[in-house]
Point group: C2
DNA sequence: CTTATTTGTTAACTTAAGTGAACGAATCTA
DNA sequence: TAGATTCGTTCACTTAAGTTAACAAATAAG
């Protein structure tokens, strides 16, 4: 399982065996059961997540119902807003599949970054990459209709549509579950006709 | 005008007079006329922008019409996607008011960051802050209706509604200009009734 | 200053999403 | 495994956004 992480890191920096061992000795790999809530609304947390296997999602509870805003799957990283802002979290994070996560906390990161400065460089690169990606995703969302968003997702993350409950997928697409059902039926009709 | 920048920077790090002078000597302050196109679709650019005064917007041209995705006003920073990805830009950036911008390029930044390591630290902090902010904005967009988005904007960036053309504002809200007009009329009706 | 062009609004009509309810299928859970 | 809950879909109806067109107001161009 560590190999997955090191393969990922190797895209940014190269690590010596010593450095790899140092990371392993941090003991940050965690097996998390489906359904586990990693972060709750109102909570203050210093934990960041990196998904090695499985899927976690972020969601708000507004007027009593859940609004799913993101899914994180293999090789996705998530630093919750509350960690950077140091304010209570506005949203929940839950594990929707049995997963293997890398869970780090801010204090530990500072220590590692001091010990291995190139780690710091990697994180900086990674963060600006994520920012750019997030903006593009936002742009795509803004400039397309629910139907286009669904078709887009079918292209870019076809696995999500299979592995994620439809009602969660619906709010991720910014619509109601009934609208997603209808929209899918509409697309099927078009393909036939 | 430099003071605006240094006030902003002082929120992250403190600068000596020498360091301030070094920044000024980079000669990165630019006056830009309304209507100027800073970046075009298909272009490769290494320039990043920081708005000291005025307003710039990013927009795509899809099926022949403009889709505005963001407005950057005083103290907002923008590193276009093409700069980080090193691929041709998918969108345009234009100046919608006479503005004063700080325009830097990647090469210059590297030089400055080597000379003043604390600058590098600042950028890292700033970038992860922006990422967090961008995610929250995306979440808000996803979880709300066009009308809610408009009301939200009225709260958070009331100036935008005044200074920005309505048809650009409409696509920023993910709707057509006609829908924005209607939506505003609807809100006025409600306030009366 | 006059003419074009762009912009914002309104209106009538079409299309798609929201809402509330119903119902089988899948999935917990005891 | 029996009963309860959750989930996905369908339907009828409501509401709001998309579309096309028209027109006045503001802005730009000559």
């Amino acid at each position: 399982m560590e190999d997955l992480l090191f393969d990922f890191i190797s895209k940014y920096i190269s690590l010596s065996e010593d450095e790899k061992n140092a990371i392993i000795s941090l003991d940050i790999f965690r097996s998390v059961k489906k359904g586990t809530i990693l972060l709750q609304e109102g909570q203050n947390s210093k934990e960041s997540y990196f998904v090695l296997k499985g899927c976690i999602r972020t969601y708000y509870v507004l007027d009593g119902d859940e609004k799913t805003t993101a899914f994180y799957t293999e090789m996705d990283a998530l630093t919750p807003h509350c960690v950077t802002s140091k304010t209570p979290s506005q949203y929940y994070i839950s594990c929707i599949e049995d997963s293997i996560l890398l869970i780090s906390n801010t204090d530990m990161e500072e220590e590692v970054n001091t010990k291995f400065p190139k780690f710091d460089v990697m994180c900086r690169t990674f963060s600006s990459e994520l920012l750019a990606k997030n903006k593009v995703d936002f742009d795509e969302f803004k400039t397309s209709s629910p139907e286009q968003r669904y078709l887009n997702l079918l292209q870019k993350r076809p696995d999500l549509i299979q592995r994620v409950p439809q009602h969660q997928l619906a709010s991720y697409l910014g619509i109601k579950p009934q609208s997603l059902s209808r929209l899918k039926a509409r697309i099927l009709e078009k393909d036939k006709g």
